[in-house]
């Protein structure tokens, strides 16, 4: 009997390990975050978590030029790749860093879970006026200011200039032209495709819907109105379903080895991304120096239009006792010439600053020779101005995006499609808001 019992308890022990993982996570954080608060003499020490390109360089530059505040930077995985989970767990465990990077899409979720502090007192009206209004709007929730916007991320189309010339292709300006170009690419080389559908990344699709004028999350009075199946989204979903069904685009996970592999061997000749993608391509494919060009995102009617894909802001966590210093550092990164310059001069970042006055600085700091000297910042400038201001993010991005991603993975030729995935995301969002006790329509 004792032997059998030990077997049973071994099994229970295994399951309990799973429980222990759930309950004990977050211990991996940095315990010194809060304990180093205000020494009477000497500098204030801050901890900062982020993953954006060039963050390390910015922190080094800040530390070199400041004596009153010193920042300790820790690189974490990008938000949806585990970074957000790490941050929420650290906040729950009470050992979060002072300052964290959060994309606009996830900011409402962090605010609603009570993980952040209102920084309205330090991040004043005058500071906000320096930034692109759309980004300020995305960081002002419930009438309070929650984060310092760093970049706007207007969409852009990156393409292989040499292969476009070889296949005698015009750079498409509308989605109709894009589809024709996609057909021509495949005709010219049966293995090549113009771009990629990312089944693991709903945010790219959401930016497309945003560009088309969709409004998934609307806050009216005290009620969330959820509509992910409006006409604009349906149009975008149908268009991409058509490209997939006709085999005109690749279907690969974003930034995966197969995606980069296909870029390297020239079987993917375009990338529908955003401003920060310029630095990513340059860093990923150094051997294709001079072969890439950047174009505005194709639009539905040929007029400039853009959604926002990603875009980072800096927020102060709930328990930080150094809010003022953290905001000072965040503002230095976002709104000073030295801060922006340090990041872009690292060579890996092509961020498009939310601070309008600093765009010439970014342009000067970015070595555009990879793009044959093209003035890509002028292009981002125009695209940034065309970002539709109507889009807002809801407080359940985690649920919405996980659900859509799960259903994107199930897309098959004759089975469920993109529209079904978006509908599933809608239902999950409504259910989640209801479970939290919020009023929902949709």
């Amino acid at each position: 009997m004792t032997r059998s019992w030990s077997r049973t308890s071994r099994v229970i022990a295994g399951t309990a390990t799973a429980l222990a993982v759930l309950t004990a996570c977050g211990g991996s954080g940095d315990d010194t975050a809060n304990s180093t608060a205000k020494k009477p003499n000497g500098p204030v020490t801050l901890t900062f978590w982020g993953w954006a390109k060039g963050s390390k360089d910015v922190v080094d530059a800040f530390n070199a030029s400041h004596t009153d505040i010193q920042v300790k930077f820790e690189e974490i995985p990008s938000g949806t790749a585990g970074g957000y989970a790490k941050i929420s767990n650290a906040v729950k465990a009470g050992n979060a860093p002072d300052l964290v990077s959060i994309e606009y899409s996830s900011l409402p979720e962090f605010v609603s879970s009570g993980a952040l502090q209102d920084i309205g007192g330090e991040f004043t009206e005058a500071d906000r006026a320096k930034l692109l209004p759309q980004t300020v709007e995305l960081t002002t929730l419930g009438g309070k200011s929650w984060a310092v916007p760093f970049d706007a991320a207007p969409q852009a189309f990156f393409y292989r200039k040499d292969l476009f010339a070889k296949y005698k292709l015009q750079v498409p300006t509308t989605w109709d032209e894009f589809k024709k170009a996609a057909e021509q690419v495949r005709k010219a080389d049966a293995k090549a495709r113009i771009a990629t559908f990312f089944p693991d990344d709903p945010t790219t699709f959401e930016a497309m819907a945003w560009q088309a004028g969709a409004q998934w999350f609307k806050a009216e009075n005290d009620t969330w109105k959820i509509d992910t199946t409006d006409a604009a989204t349906t149009k975008v979903a149908g268009y991409w379903q058509g490209l997939l069904d006709a085999g005109l685009v690749h279907k690969n996970a974003s930034f995966s080895p197969e995606w980069t592999g296909s870029l390297k061997n020239g079987t993917t000749i375009g990338y529908l991304g955003a401003s920060w993608g310029a630095g990513v391509l340059k860093g990923t494919l150094p051997e294709q120096d001079g072969k890439w060009g950047v174009a505005p995102m194709p639009s539905w009617d040929g007029k400039p239009a853009s959604g926002m894909l990603g875009g980072t802001s800096f927020a102060v966590t709930k328990d930080s006792k150094q809010r003022a210093a953290a905001v000072t550092f965040a503002e230095w990164m976002s709104t000073t010439e030295a801060g922006v310059k340090a990041r872009i001069a690292s060579g890996t970042s092509s961020a498009f600053p939310a601070a309008t006055a600093l765009r010439p600085v970014a342009k000067k700091a970015f070595d555009a020779s990879y793009y044959g000297g093209q003035d890509i910042y002028a292009l981002f400038e125009a695209a940034g101005a065309s970002i539709s201001p109507n889009w807002a993010w809801g407080p359940t991005t985690g649920t919405t995006n996980t659900t859509i991603k799960d259903h994107f993975g199930k897309i098959t030729q004759d089975g469920p499609g993109i529209a079904d995935a978006v509908k599933a995301g809608h239902d999950a969002t409504v259910a989640e808001l209801t479970k939290r006790g919020l009023k929902v329509e949709g």
Binding site: M1, S4, R7, T8, V11, I12, A13, G14, T15, A16, A18, L19, A20, L22, T23, A24, C25, G82, A85, S88, N89, K92, P108, E109, S112, S113, G114, L141, G142, F198, P199, D200, D222, W224, K251, N252, A253, P257, E258, G261, S262, P395, T396, G398, T399, T402, K405, D406, H407, F408, G409, K410, T412, G415, E432, L433, K435, R436, G437, L438
Partner: protein, 299 residues
């Protein structure tokens, strides 16, 4: 007598201390967490309030199709995996049992080796081998006219089963091999004298004699399957495969906690899973216990 009690107390204390800290306390905390939900008001930007909601999280988990489907996936996984595992491991063990001594040692090591690779590494290697544009395997299959998408809804389950087989086949083969080695050689000699060939000996003599270890491996594999997590998680992250974030009940709990920030739901799902495991283990213990008792009586 008193000295013995004291020795037992001293020797057992470390166990019970650890048992309390790493098992009882976390389970208790999970049960506690599962009774609460974080509620918000207005648009949700005013922070959260932790409210006692009784068994609401349990009904929410049980009412969620994704959670129930997770158990369905486990069932399908067991139905496909266990027969393959048993047949494969037993077949290999029988081969080894009748092979030359030198080859025996080599194959025993070679077949066991994959088990030494951590599950996460194994999954990463297999993801590479499953990815159409990268994998030499997929390319070879395509050249041979076999188009199979390992990431498709139909391919997901076989893909995970294949990884698990690769990891566990050698391990279970060693168990069967040990059982085969324990068979009294005189029984085999008697069978040979009676004119039985190698096949006949294998299936009519050896297999019936190792039935007990077959049953044991099957039952432990079923219970172990409840914890299926690492391999499908790797297939879920960064491949765009049909393996969803809630594919198994364990993944459901993980996603609830880390993607949805719903610790109450995650705790409830974990407790439900633990209860299932406990019930199954109890059933297994009873069954094996009865088998043993029955055997002793007939012997």
């Amino acid at each position: 007598m008193k000295a013995r009690t004291r020795a037992a107390t001293i020797l057992l204390t470390p166990f019970f201390l650890l048992f309390t800290v790493v098992m009882v306390v976390p389970i208790g905390y999970a049960v506690w967490l599962s009774l609460f939900t974080e509620k918000q008001s207005g648009l949700g930007f005013g922070g959260t309030e932790t409210v006692f909601t009784g068994l609401d999280n349990y009904t929410a988990a049980l009412g969620d199709r994704a959670f129930r489907e997770g158990f369905g996936v486990l069932l399908g996984y067991c139905l496909l995996y266990i027969p393959l595992l048993l047949a494969g491991a037993l077949g290999l063990a029988l081969l080894l049992d009748s092979a030359l001594a030198r080859a025996r040692r080599f194959f025993q090591l070679a077949l066991f080796l994959p088990h030494a690779v951590p599950g996460i590494i194994a999954a990463l290697i297999w993801v590479y081998l499953y990815t159409p544009q990268l994998s030499p395997v997929v390319q070879a299959m395509e050249a041979g006219g076999i188009g199979f998408d390992f990431f498709s809804p139909e391919g997901a389950l076989p893909s995970v089963v294949n990884i698990a087989l690769w990891e566990w086949l050698g391990y279970n083969m060693v168990i069967f091999y040990a059982a085969l080695q324990a068979i009294d050689r005189s029984v085999l000699e008697a069978a040979t004298v009676d004119g039985a060939g190698a096949w006949r000996i294998a299936f009519s003599v050896k297999v019936p004699l190792v039935k007990a270890s077959l049953a044991m491996v099957a039952l432990f594999t079923i219970i172990g399957s409840l914890q299926l997590f690492t391999e499908p998680l790797i297939l879920n992250k960064g491949t765009g495969s049909a393996v969803t974030s809630t594919w198994t009940p364990n993944m459901y709990a993980y996603t609830a906690a880390f993607d949805r920030n719903d610790y109450g739901l995650a705790a409830a799902a974990s407790v439900l899973l633990a209860l299932t495991a406990a019930l199954l283990s109890f059933a297994v213990t009873r069954m094996t216990g009865r088998r043993k008792a029955g055997k002793e009586r007939t012997a």
